[in-house]
Amino acid sequence: MPNQNKGVSFNWILKMAWRDSRKNRSRLLLFISSIVLGIAALVAVYSFRDNLEKDIDNQAKSLAGADLILDSRKMPEKEMQALLDTLGEERSTERSFASMIYFIKNQGSRLVQVRALEGKYPYYGTLETKPLNAGKDFQNGRTALVDKTLMLQYEANVGDSIKIGALNFKIEGALIEAPGQTGITSSIAPVVYIPLKYLEETGLTKIGSRIQYKYYYKFSRTSIVDQLVKKIEPQLKKADYGYETIASTKENTGRSFRDLSRFLALAGFIALLLGCIGVGSAINVYIKEKLSAIATLRCLGVKAKDAFLIFLVQIFFLGLIGAILGTALGTAVQFILPAVLKDFLPVAITIQLSWPAILQGISLGVIISVLFALPSLLSVRKISPLNALRASYEAPENAVDPLKWLVYGLIVLFIFGFTYLQMNRWTQAIAFTGSIVIAFLLLFAISRLLMWLVRKSIPSSMGYLWRQGFANLYRPQNQTLMLTVSIGLSTAFIGTLFFIQGILIKSVTLSSGKNQPNMVLFDIQSNQEAAVAKLTKDYHLPVMAQVPVVTVRIASINGKSAEDLAKADSLLNAKNGNKEKTETKGPSQSAFRNELRVTFQDTLTSAEKITEGKWEGKVAKPNDPVYVSIEENYAARLGVKIGDKITFDVQGVPISTVVGSFRAVNWNRMQTNFRIVFPTGVLEEAPQFHVLMTHVPNQQVSAKYQGAVVRTFPNVSLIDLGLILKVLDQLLSKIGFVIRFMAAFSMATGWIVLIASVLTSKNQRLKESILLRTLGASRKQILTINALEYLFLGAIASGTGLILALAGSWALAQFSFESAFSPTLLPILLLFVIITLLVTATGVFSSRKVLNRPPLEILREET
């Protein structure tokens, strides 16, 4: 028996790995460069996340601006007011609501968020203004702080006047930043601060105005805040007050940015996955080329396991190098991320090295490159020493290599595990992993089908160059599978991002059609209804709808009030020992919490459809039952069924109703939609305001009409769909920029994978081309053969990728955005042509060596 104990040392394996890599380093580095960008993207996102979390921690106080913030949509009652007046050592009061402001100098008007403030808020951080003192001084007189972008848009200067409601204010300063405000929030709803003492005089506090009441507190002993909040929580809940402390601000802000960084990390992960597919396929070809050397080593007595280890060590170190390069690049990219995301950030970011992110990046790079190289590396174990005697020797195929399947399983598990860590939800992780696996399998199947079809269908009558070009797609050592998968997946990813952006923009643009309303006037008082309609008609604008809106609350459902339900819940919890929540059917407590805005009408609008029960549009006699109609999803949330009894509190007056029907509502339509609709004959006398919808043909008419409305009815607010579209477009282009920034990593990775795979297959193609050159083929002929192969490959890969992207986007449009999906042909064609040409150009470029130099010279070099 041979001496079994005497195996080779690990040092020798390291030495061999080093020696063997010497002649292949540039090639191996090219393979591994596929993962560099993916790792870079992830490290940048992780570093950014870590820095952001630190900054949120450090700046939480100035994010909140106060130790405690209480807020409600309800004016405090006596008891509550007493509580509000006793909290904290310093306090400020704010009332905020949406309203129109009118720039007197240039006669422009705009819907803004008015914040009427009294007190020294913010206690932490500042109202950053220009001039500097304006943040403090504006409360001294009838002056306002106006959002700086808004001032720029309306060419307003400090000292100019604006009109809010019935009152004029002098602009004291431009508001640059307020606590917790981001670029995005200010572009959606620009803020205007006025002193609270002038609010009543504006006339904007009448019933119907949706005012938010906010109270800011500063405590000398901040440590008692959390305890205090716990103590007063039942009281706050009863009075419908929410609260925010520095800790909760930190948690809430952190949570929303964790979601953002999760999305960014997933985008980076897709780039990494693409790179890994490239690495895996390149290593596959690399190992095939090493067959003879491995067989010789086996002849010389190297065990299968040791031969495998030599290449595993190589890949490990290459993965490490790739990961380190990626990490270094990622650390540099994180300096750019705050600039990319500046509009979304509530805090100033301090950039510093994040060692956890660096460690994560490096370990991820090593694990993933080894994992994806393993299926090819495992075949090293199966290389027979007989290959040294006969190059053509083929070991009897073992149909199933259990280790390979184990590795495939690990890869899927790794993708799933990583996705789960990012998303924290099983369903999303399964959906993401499933989509990647399905896309991969589809591309795999398509490339197989393609090879089979080409093999079967090339007509012998076809010219030699075409036949040769097509035959390259299925002949041994072809790159059809790898290129189809890698290019296809990159195209699918990029295409999906592009289409989704299109769906979002289109769904908004569609609602701005000629026959659709594009301007909404609200807060119209009953006594103004006719006059506003007349003014609208005076401007030759159609009154497309006039809808009354009544604010109500649910007082009881089937006789049970909020208190009864709370009691029942606590009894149930006590019974279960508070161990677990038992799912109870029927109305939930949350149904009673919020104010509801309802309307009354005798007929359904075109956006509404009865799905259950019967629509009753009119209550004929005072004592007849009042049948209300509830939107189906809201009904499910309330836990009510047809025939249930609901009592509404209509500003102090109880009104008993019966659930008569459920409705499906198309919320995407630009019109007023309501969760609960009353029949006519019930709410006509209740306090209400009205909404009017019209269609303005252009910007000029819009500006004139808005000016007239604001001047004549200062309490009425307008929503201009054109403006919303503009803001949304800005918002989407900002989001789109972030998405494109992350997608760029995938695109660049796809490009590197393409170059790596073309260069990998180069050796095989080179030998054939040299042979053809030797046999007398012209430059043009060889060029045509190569171009045809890559043209066809590029077309199939990008075509399949685009089909996948279209299918994915259709599914998202159908099931997630509930919107029609009709992509435009031109961008699809353009994407298809660009990617196909890119593949062809790269393929042809790689064969230029053969075209320009004598065959023997290349042969000597490549042997």
């Binding site: 028996m1 041979p2 001496n3 079994q4 005497k6 080779v8 040392s9 020798w12 030495k15 061999m16 020696r19 063997d20 890599s21 010497r22 002649k23 292949n24 003879s292 050397a293 067989a295 010789t296 080593l297 086996r298 002849c299 010389l300 007595g301 190297v302 065990k303 299968a304 396991k305 027979s384 020493p385 007989l386 040294a388 005697l389 006969r390 190059a391 009897p396 000597r860 042997t863």
Partner: protein, 234 residues
């Protein structure tokens, strides 16, 4: 002579299965090779020479019969045990040299010694390269050497682990006449000095005639096994 046998082939057969069909490449081959002797296995292309060499050297397993090398029954060994046997007992010379393209000439020669865990091997490897006349090319890669030079490195590598038996598969098959003569001379000289048993697979009758014995194969069967009379010692 039985106690001096280094290689015993007993009723060896090899059947390949391909696409559901069986193909008998070797049929009931038996012979013995004594220590220190040299044997040529000859035959036309497709006669089974290389397959037989693969079985003798433990590169493949026989479908039937027994292969005993240096008193080790190869049929019963695992792949790893076969690898260890090759490293400790066997040297190889291949028709296409099979040098590791990523290793220098010196490193190629050192590999078998390194595998045995030997120390201070650099000097021994350089000596071997010197013996084949390539000491000054030790740091060249195979691609930088001519075919004859590559085969000389291959010879140095084959003798580097002082093998009990050396298998050569068409060692001059890829070389021109003049270089072939030089390589043959070197092969036999080194073999004589090292006292190694030599098994050569060749269809070159002139090369075969320089060995002690010629075994002829035809269609997978042993058709003759004859000693060669030499006027001069080989």
């Amino acid at each position: 002579m039985q106690d001096q046998a280094i290689l015993e082939i007993k009723n060896v057969g090899k059947v390949y299965k391909s696409a559901g069909k069986s193909l008998a490449v070797l049929k009931d081959i038996s012979f013995t090779v004594n220590k220190g002797s040299s044997v040529a296995i000859t035959g036309a292309s497709g006669s089974g020479k290389t397959t037989l060499l693969g079985l003798c050297a433990g590169l493949d397993k026989a479908s039937s019969g027994e292969v005993i090398l240096n008193n080790i029954h190869l049929n019963h060994l695992s792949e790893d045990e076969l690898a260890a046997t090759r490293n400790q007992n066997i040297g190889f010379i291949f028709q296409n040299f099979q040098l590791m393209p990523t290793l220098t000439a010196l490193e190629n020669v050192m590999v078998p010694m390194e595998l045995r865990g030997e120390k201070n091997i650099r000097h021994a490897a350089l000596e071997l390269l010197d013996k084949v006349g390539l000491a000054d090319r030790s740091h060249h890669y195979p691609i930088q050497l001519s075919g004859g030079e590559q085969q000389r490195v291959s010879l140095a590598r084959a003798f580097s682990n002082r093998p009990a038996i050396l298998f050569a598969d068409e060692p001059t098959g890829n070389l021109d006449g003049e270089t072939s003569i030089k390589i043959e001379k070197l092969l036999f000289d080194l073999n004589t000095k090292a006292g190694t048993t030599l098994v050569i697979v060749t269809h070159d009758l002139e090369l075969a005639s320089r060995t002690h014995r010629i075994i002829k194969l035809k269609s997978g069967e042993l058709i003759s096994d004859e000693s060669v009379a030499h006027t001069q010692p080989v």
